[in-house]
């Protein structure tokens, strides 16, 4: 029973990290229809910043968390301004290839600066387990789940209730019409990138907490799987990203628990293919009719 509960918590933890990253994918895709391949690598940047601040500079974990999130936000906005903004009206394929280029750049840049081997990120807290009734639960896992819930609620409020959120929804619905209504489209897009990247920064801290390492290519698999999660849930939908993330997390947990961990990547991708074939817009996705 205890074993089962801790496995469930592991799945929930992994799923929460995927969900946070998937939220970033979903927001960017929702607004400019761009599959932001570099999103996974933004997480890598965040993890390296955590490592730099704590292991190299010896500052407190609180500073590390703040700096990681700030660095991710900055990198995200910078990528948008430098690489994507000049291509706003270009064919989709060109922007997609640019995104692949940015991802490639970040990965190899990190490899050049920090070396190819993984760096060990120190523990954020001394507290490793917490007692709840008769159960002892892993503290990072509980923190991850709680942070994800808070972040999702905050994001939903931001998108649904605030003025900026209204602008974001308007731009994602019709960019031209939004511009005519006096919405500053470029700054709205930048804001979307900032929010998505900040979420990735939080994801990076939680990832570093769970797996205590940073490596140049860590963003690749994590990002790809988070994207799978976003597509599973229906890209462009916030609850979809969370549900998708949890599904992917649990699927991996189940496969690992069955002793088939070498197949877990294949299972996740197979899940994606099945969902895309059966329901091409994902679980919560809206069907878009094609204009001629």
């Amino acid at each position: 029973m205890d074993m089962f509960l801790s496995q469930m918590l592991n799945g929930l933890q992994l799923g929460s990290i995927y969900a946070l990253v998937a939220l970033g994918y979903t927001m960017v895709y929702g607004i400019i229809l761009l599959l932001n391949f570099a999103h996974g690598d933004i997480i890598m940047v965040g993890a390296y910043v955590s490592w730099l601040v704590m292991a190299q500079l010896g500052l407190s974990p609180v500073v590390a968390v703040l700096l990681s999130v700030a660095a991710c936000t900055l990198v995200g906005v910078l990528i948008d301004k430098v690489a994507y903004a000049p291509l706003r009206n270009a064919p989709r394929l060109s922007i997609l290839i640019t995104a692949i280029g940015v991802s490639y750049f970040l990965e190899n840049g990190a490899q050049l600066v920090f070396g190819a081997d993984a760096k060990r990120v120190p523990a954020f807290t001394d507290l490793q387990t917490i007692q709840l009734g008769g159960l002892s639960l892993s503290f990072p896992a509980v923190a991850t789940v709680l942070v994800t819930i808070v972040a999702t609620v905050a994001l939903t409020l931001l998108v649904q209730k605030s003025k900026l959120g209204k602008a974001m929804r308007a731009v994602s619905e019709d960019m031209g019409a939004a511009r005519l209504m006096g919405i500053n489209v470029n700054s709205t897009i930048s804001f979307t990138f900032a929010v998505g990247s900040a979420l990735a920064g939080i994801g990076a801290v939680l990832y570093a907490m769970a797996y205590t390492q940073a490596s140049p290519t860590m963003g690749m698999m994590l990002g790809t799987k988070a994207f799978v999660a976003a597509v599973l849930g229906g890209i462009g939908s916030i609850p979809g990203a969370v549900v998708g993330g949890l599904i992917v997390g649990f699927a991996e947990m189940v496969v690992t628990a069955l002793g088939l961990s070498v197949w877990k990547d294949a299972v996740v991708f197979l899940l994606l293919i099945i969902v895309l074939v059966v329901r091409p817009t994902g679980i919560f996705g809206r069907t878009m009719s094609e204009k001629v």
Partner: protein
């Protein structure tokens, strides 16, 4: 303001009607190109035999040829069909494993040693050709299995589903031995003992064949249908093009050639590991196609050549190579999204015809300016 051209031309250069233009008959065109390819193959082979090209250089040349096939084959799906598959390395790995497993097991059954592949006997030639075809067919089957569900989706979804399939292929190659209980792919340790059957002649013979087949396909009715789908899928469907059939066809042909290239790759490096065929390999091939110009076979071939030779030449800067790749990719997309050559393709016959007609760029520009003036005069 675009240049005005007369709608009904009376041959603006006072040289008679346009149908008086002298052209080369098709058999002559084919003959010229065939002779050219033969000359290149023979000269290359003689230089290798004579020692003018070292063993190392000829290995690099073989890799250039393999990457040309990969880039040209991806160009079918990217440049001509207008989709973005991110799993080309997956097809390549299926072809590589299919071909080398066939060759290894058949040569064991027929009692052919590894030495025979270097010297070359009729049996080994047949084995290698058979292996390449088996590899190509394996990859084509994989392409068909992937293509049918994938091509129902568009753009990014297609990109991500092909990426997913390529990753699944990699995981399967890694773990299939444990499931089947027999030694097939060798898992993470890799498949060893592949005879080194790739040679300059074989690789560049395949390059010529692949380019020829691709070219003729694209100039045929089927190629036009594929181009029509790229330009506007809905319009193509409305004019009676069976879009599903032609999309799958282009995808399968692209996968087949990638499989052949994989087979050649296996014979060139001698060891296969699933890790060789990761996402990065797909991106590397994609960079070649994008850089050269999507839809230009010459562009794909040229950038494949440059991007294979350059890293060898700049071994000292290998750390910066990948960053340079990334920066170049971004810059090209921002400043020249259609690629360096766009959709321009070189045709020797066209050049010869131009010379026959004394139709040079400089005379033509003057003629076009004259024609524009005529129209402008009538119009106003």
């Amino acid at each position: 303001m675009t240049e005005k051209r007369p709608i009904i031309s009376a041959g603006g250069r006072g040289q008679g009607a346009p149908d008086a233009r002298r052209t080369l008959p098709m058999p002559v065109r084919y003959a010229i190109n065939a002779v050219l390819v033969l000359v290149i193959l023979v000269v290359g082979e003689l230089m290798i035999d004579g020692g003018a090209i070292t063993r190392y250089q000829s290995t690099v040349l073989e890799q250039v040829g393999i990457y040309i096939i990969l880039a040209v084959s991806l160009n079918i799906a990217t440049g001509y069909l207008g989709q973005l598959p991110l799993g080309h390395a997956g097809f390549m790995s299926v072809g590589a494993y299919g071909c080398s497993i066939f060759v290894i097991h058949m040569s064991e059954a027929l009692g052919v040693g590894a030495r025979d592949f270097v010297t070359g006997t009729p049996v080994t030639a047949a084995l290698v050709l058979g292996g390449l075809i088996v590899g190509g067919i394996c990859a084509a089957v994989a392409g068909l299995i992937i293509g049918i569900p994938a091509l129902r989706l568009k753009g990014d979804y297609l990109a991500i589903i092909t990426l997913a399939f390529a990753e699944i292929i990699r995981v399967v190659m890694l773990n299939i031995d444990g499931v089947l209980g027999i030694e097939l792919t060798g898992g993470a340790a890799g498949l060893t003992g592949i005879p080194s059957y790739s040679s300059f002649l074989l690789v560049f013979g395949c390059v010529a064949l692949v380019c020829f087949l691709t070219h003729t396909m694209m100039k045929s009715r089927h190629g036009r249908a594929i181009l029509a789908i790229r330009d506007n899928e809905i319009a193509a469907e409305a004019t009676g093009v069976n879009t599903t059939y032609y999309k799958t066809l282009a995808f399968v042909v692209s996968a087949f050639f990638a499989g052949v290239a994989g087979g050649l790759y296996a014979g060139c490096i001698g060891v296969l590991q699933p890790a060789y065929f990761g996402f990065m390999k797909s991106i590397e091939i994609l960079v070649m196609v994008v850089l050269g110009g999507m839809g230009s076979m010459l562009g794909s071939a040229l950038s494949a050549t440059v991007l294979t030779i350059l890293p060898e030449a700049l071994r000292a800067f290998s750390e910066y190579r990948m960053i340079a790749y990334a920066v170049v990719l971004i810059l090209v997309m921002i400043f020249r999204p259609q690629g360096l050559l766009g959709s321009y393709d070189f045709s020797l016959s066209r050049v010869i015809e131009r010379v026959m007609n004394r139709d040079f760029p400089w005379t033509r520009r003057a003629a076009r300016a004259d024609a524009g003036k005529e129209v402008g005069d009538d119009g106003r």
